[in-house]
């Protein structure tokens, strides 16, 4: 008797609709940020009091605001500012955080202790509160918001990068390099930094969504991008007063923020899985 056993778990090339959708979403956002005129139906700052607070119509897909500006076009034009703040803050935080973290691991005990105790103090504050503190010192504005958000995220990256660097430092290949007579600086740039970095970058990919959300929150509080520049957070804040008469004013920018954050998370999580080699699976 010859029997054919079907495999218990067959390797399936799973299509991931969520991932595809997230990439498409990010592509649209990138397009809106780079060439907003391609997607917008009107200029973001054309005031038209005659059609103020107009409902949804083919002409104004998201309606208009209290000054008669097209909400859809303002959302499109607002993408650049939101993305710039989100990406800028994350990039800044990763660069500074990774450098400090790897340095803390590579330098002596005293430097390490100092850096780690400072991050302990900073991590004790909620991130947004820390950002608010920085803005209180620097003053509101898009650039200052970026710096503030970066400051809030840096301690986390310092910790992560230090941990990774310590793992690398204990690895067989770093010991091997010592035995081969490579200098400390050579080992730092040749082995520790390049091997500690990928997991940190993977984490940052997920973090972009968080930064995006935080930037919208700060703008909502009136601390980020200043009017009349279109920005998602400040649009939410402006539309708040008209919630019962023109709900589209807050709901649509809110939906876009939510969608953008989710897209960032999904893509970021996938990138992280690839970085960490989980995507390859199976033996």
């Amino acid at each position: 008797m010859t029997t054919v056993l079907t495999p218990v778990t067959a390797p399936v090339a799973r299509a991931r609709p969520a991932l595809v959708l997230a990439w498409v979403g990010l592509g649209l956002l990138a397009l809106a940020a780079a060439w907003p005129a391609l997607l917008a139906t009107a200029a973001p700052d054309t005031v038209d009091p005659a059609s103020a607070l107009a409902p949804i119509s083919p002409h104004h897909p998201f309606g208009t605001d209290q000054l008669g500006r097209d909400v859809y076009s303002r959302v499109v034009y607002g993408t650049r500012m939101s993305l710039l703040i989100g990406l800028g803050a994350t990039t800044l935080a990763v660069t500074v955080g990774a450098l400090l973290g790897v340095l803390a691991a590579a330098a002596g005990r005293a430097v390490d202790e100092l850096f780690m105790r400072i991050t302990d103090i900073l991590l004790a504050f909620p991130g947004l509160l820390l950002a608010l503190l920085v803005i209180a010192v620097l003053g509101p504005g898009a650039v200052n918001t970026t710096i503030a958000l970066a400051c809030a995220a840096v301690p986390g990256y310092v910790r992560l990068a230090r941990g990774q660097a310590l793992v690398v430092r204990r690895s067989g290949y770093v010991s091997a390099a010592v035995v081969m007579g490579r200098s400390r600086v050579g080992i730092f740039f040749g082995h520790v930094l390049p091997n500690a970095l990928p997991p940190v970058l993977a984490f940052a990919a997920v973090d972009v969504g968080t930064a995006l959300m935080a930037s919208a929150s700060l703008s909502f509080l009136g601390l980020g991008a200043q009017p009349p520049a279109p920005e998602w957070g400040s649009m939410l804040a402006e539309g708040r007063d008209y919630l019962d008469s023109a709900w589209g004013l807050t709901v649509f920018p809110g939906l876009v923020v939510t969608a953008a954050v989710i897209a960032c998370y999904v893509v970021g999580a996938d990138l992280r899985a690839r970085f960490e080699g989980r995507g390859t699976g199976g033996r």
Partner: protein, 539 residues
Amino acid sequence: MDDEVVSVAGLHVTYRVGRAEVFAVRGVDFHLRAGECLAIVGESGSGKSTVARALVGLTGPGARLRSDRLVVSGQELSRLGDREWRRIRGAQVGLVLQDALTALDPLRTVGAEVAEAARNHGLVRRGEVARRVHRLLTDVQVPQPELRARQYPQQLSGGLRQRALIAAAMAADPPVLVADEPTTALDVTLQAKLLDLLAARKAAGTAVLLISHDLSVVALLADRVAVMRDGEFVETGCTADVLRAPEHPYTRQLLAATPSAHARGARLAGPRSTPARTRTPRPSGVLARVREVSKTFRGPGGARLAAVSEVSFSLSAGEILGVVGESGSGKSTLAHLLLGLLEPDTGTIELFGQPWSGVPEARRQRGRVQWVQQDPLGSFDPRYRVGRLIAEAGVDRARVRELLDQVGLDPAMADRHPRTLSGGQRQRVAIARALARDPEVIVCDEPVSALDVSVQAQILDLFADIRADLGTALVLISHDLAVVHHVADRVLVMRAGTVVESGPVTEVFARPTHPYTAQLIAALPRPGDAYAAHPEGVA
């Protein structure tokens, strides 16, 4: 044959790799009776573990299994679903895996782990679980079973963990025990104890399927041997016959590669493939002097644990010094001290007539003492290719090619990634890297313990060639006495951080003065004389 517990015929297992189908097992037949032990011997990739896993339905995702017969305890297994397999595993077939640390759940106590099979199959009532666990642990000679059952796997030594794993496999009293490389991670003395345990199970009527790469281990336990290569049994027969008069050339090759089967110093893997080089003249004399060196580490609870205490020895130019001992005996700490990766707490190390311990890094002549680690892949930066790995020692491309050629690798391999190389090739790359700066001493820390016998034979031959050609002194650290006996000139026997015995290899092995050395030598399996214990091997 009524008493056949396991009967397998025409077993094929294929794996899908991308679009292609790869055969892991092609057409294997065997049977096992109660109280009998069949050993499947082969090197990595031969498919021996796949056969073992087929008996418990764990061939993994992507595997396709086809068989004419796959019967355990009268039950045909080849059509079982997941739920039915769960009734077989543990109850009919117990599985002992190689790596006890990863096979045991770190979040559960040893007792819970051992009881699991018995509990899953509803064999014990709740109140009796503790008694059952106690009995099982006693059966596998775990001392203080009450205490051990309450501990977690990571609190147990390797030998105890492996015993707990056997207890777990035996918990539901399965008539068949499958042991996949059960002793590979263990030292000789532990290995001997573990084989005794398996022999006791066998005597109690359990059929044992033993999977191993080591013919000498097999000789102690198996009634019959099947030699496996490329998914097929190339030779099967009663253990004594196969070991004494192997018929298949592959079996002969495997036997020849086993160090203890040879006269000391004889080539293990056939005549050398690379031409002999003219020996570079080297100054003779003493290269290293280690004087009463001690090193302690902070243990749990702040206690200082002595890893190495008061060790003294010297190393002469062109000498191969073997360092033998069980895991935890301080061998690797000694290697790190010699390499200047650790500083001794007390005592001094002198290399090449100059102080080596307690000097600033800049004063050390790093190129003169090099290192080969146990796990070559771990000693390579994961981003580097072979050429860059060797060039990191500070040599140019031409020298890299020359070095690759010298260790018997194709110079074109410089562009390959180490991950795409076999274990033996990786270790050759590591040796090429160690040779790059033409060192006078190479410290080899368990350089062959992760390799198959035939590959181990090639690497040991390579070490002999390096010493003959270049006059390099080697410190060969190994838990394997046979390896040290084969290539070393002198030997240090270490135990709990101290050197209990040292001297020329032939003398120490012939007339051990310390009881521990005698015990180690007695525990050494030898394929040549072990089957006396099994005169009635049945084919």
